[in-house]
C-alpha cells in the first residue's frame, strides 16, 4: 500500500479522503514557498522536495502572469500527458495559502481530480488548528552534530 506522510497531522484525514476518492497516484500539499506539508505516493523525501519546488514555481510564475494581465490568479492548472496528468491548485486557509500538486493516471481524470480538489480545500480549511507559539526545536549545543553531519556529507 502506498504511504501517505504528513508534516502537520491536521492534513492527514482530508488528504487520505482526497486520494481515495480522486484516484490520484501522487499528491503533494505545500506552501507557496515549496515547503511540503503532506504527501502521498512518493518514496524518497528528496524527490518530494524537487517536485514541490517545481510545482510551487509553476504556480508562482502563472500568478505573476495573472498579475501582469491585471486579473485574479488562475484558480487551477492542468497539464494532460500521454500516461499521466498533472493538476495544480491553490487555495487560502487561515494559516495562509496552500498548493496541491496532483499526478493522476488513466484510472482518474482532470474532472474527477478538480471535483475532489475542491472538497480537499474545504476539508483542510475546516481542519486548520490555531497557530502554535514558536518554540525551540534543536538543542543549544547542536554545532558538534552539525559539523559531524556536514563532514560526513562532504566526505571529510
Amino acid at each position: 500500500m502506498t504511504e501517505t506522510r504528513v508534516v502537520e497531522a491536521w492534513t492527514l484525514e482530508p488528504l487520505e479522503r482526497f486520494v481515495a476518492e480522486s484516484g490520484a497516484r501522487l499528491t503533494l500539499l505545500m506552501t507557496p514557498a515549496g515547503q511540503v506539508l503532506a504527501q502521498h505516493g512518493f518514496t524518497r523525501a528528496v524527490d518530494v522536495m524537487s517536485a514541490a519546488a517545481l510545482g510551487a514555481a509553476i504556480v508562482a510564475s502563472t500568478g505573476e502572469i495573472a498579475r501582469m494581465l491585471d486579473q485574479t490568479e488562475f484558480a487551477a492548472l492542468n497539464h494532460q500527458g500521454v500516461q499521466h496528468g498533472i493538476f495544480l491548485g491553490a487555495f487560502d486557509t487561515p494559516r495562509g495559502g496552500l498548493l496541491a500538486l496532483v499526478v493522476y493516471g488513466p484510472d482518474s481524470s482532470a474532472g474527477l481530480v478538480q471535483l475532489f480538489f475542491e472538497e480537499l480545500a474545504q476539508g483542510l480549511v475546516a481542519a486548520v488548528p490555531a497557530q502554535e507559539e514558536p518554540k525551540a526545536v534543536l538543542a543549544a549545543n547542536f554545532e558538534e552534530e552539525l559539523n559531524r553531519s556536514l563532514a560526513s556529507l562532504f566526505g571529510r
Binding site: 506522510r5 504528513v6 508534516v7 502537520e8 497531522a9 506552501t31 507557496p32 514557498a33 515549496g34 515547503q35 511540503v36 506539508l37 524518497r44 523525501a45 528528496v46 524527490d47 522536495m49 524537487s50 519546488a53 517545481l54 514555481a57 508562482a60 510564475s61 505573476e64 507559539e133 514558536p134 518554540k135 525551540a136 526545536v137 534543536l138 538543542a139 543549544a140 547542536f142 554545532e143 552534530e145 552539525l146 559539523n147 559531524r148 553531519s149 556536514l150 560526513s152 556529507l153 562532504f154 566526505g155 571529510r156
Partner: protein, 199 residues
C-alpha cells in the same frame, strides 16, 4: 520558514544563493552536488536557458543528517542573477530561512555586486522581512583569478558587508570555500531553531 515535523522528527530549511549574474551561484550547487553521496541528495533541478544561464532557479535537496534527533534536510536554491529577472528572484526568495550572497570578486563587477545586494534588501523588505534578522553569509568568489583583476576580501568586506556577517573567500569551480560557506549558512539557520522565538 523552516518546517518542523515533531511526529517524525524532521526539519526542512530553505537556503537561497543570491548574487549578480555569473558570480558562481550555480557553480556552488554543482560542486556540492558532485561531492555529496547519491543517497544524501536529490536530483539537481536546473531551469536554465540554452546557454546555461539560470532562467528561473537551480534546486538541490540535501539530507544533512541527524541534528538533536531531527532528520535535517536543506533545500538549496539559486536565483537568476541578471537584472531583468527580478520577478523570478522575488518568487524564489519567498520563505527563505537563510541567504548566501555570492559576490564576483572581479574589480569590474563591483557595481553589479552592489546593485544585487541592494536588490536583495529591497526584495526582502517587500516581503516584510527584516534583512538584518535573516541568517546571512557572504562569499567572495573567483579569488583564484589574477590578483590585478580582483578585489581582496578586505576590500569586498568594505564595499558589501554592511552588517559584519560571516564572509568567505572562494573559488567555487575548484570547490574552495564552498563547504565553509554552506557550513556557516547551515549553522546560522539552525541556530534560529535552537532559540525560542517570540510570537
Amino acid at each position: 520558514m523552516s518546517l518542523v515535523n515533531f511526529t517524525t522528527r524532521e526539519i526542512t530549511c530553505k537556503i537561497v544563493y543570491y548574487g549578480p549574474g555569473r558570480s558562481g551561484k550555480t557553480t556552488n550547487l554543482q560542486y556540492i552536488y558532485g561531492r555529496v553521496p547519491d543517497k544524501r541528495r536529490g536530483r539537481m533541478v536546473s531551469l536554465a536557458t540554452q546557454t546555461d544561464r539560470t532562467l528561473f532557479f537551480d534546486f538541490l535537496p540535501l539530507e544533512l543528517g541527524s541534528i538533536s534527533g531531527f532528520t535535517t534536510r536543506f533545500q538549496l536554491y539559486t536565483v537568476p542573477g541578471q537584472v531583468y529577472y527580478n520577478a523570478t528572484r522575488k518568487l524564489v526568495l519567498q520563505g527563505a530561512d537563510g541567504v548566501v550572497f555570492v559576490a564576483d570578486s572581479q574589480a569590474r563587477q563591483l557595481d553589479e555586486n552592489i546593485e544585487s545586494m541592494q536588490n536583495l534588501q529591497a526584495n526582502l523588505i517587500e516581503q516584510g522581512v527584516d534583512a538584518r534578522a535573516v541568517p546571512f553569509v557572504l562569499q567572495y568568489n573567483k579569488q583564484d583569478l589574477p590578483s590585478d583583476l580582483i578585489l581582496s576580501p578586505d576590500e569586498l568586506n568594505e564595499a558589501l558587508n554592511f552588517w559584519d556577517v560571516p564572509s568567505f573567500s572562494a573559488a567555487a569551480l575548484e570547490g574552495t570555500g564552498v563547504f565553509e560557506t554552506l557550513k556557516a549558512a547551515s549553522e546560522q539557520v539552525l541556530r534560529k531553531l535552537s532559540q525560542a522565538e517570540p510570537a
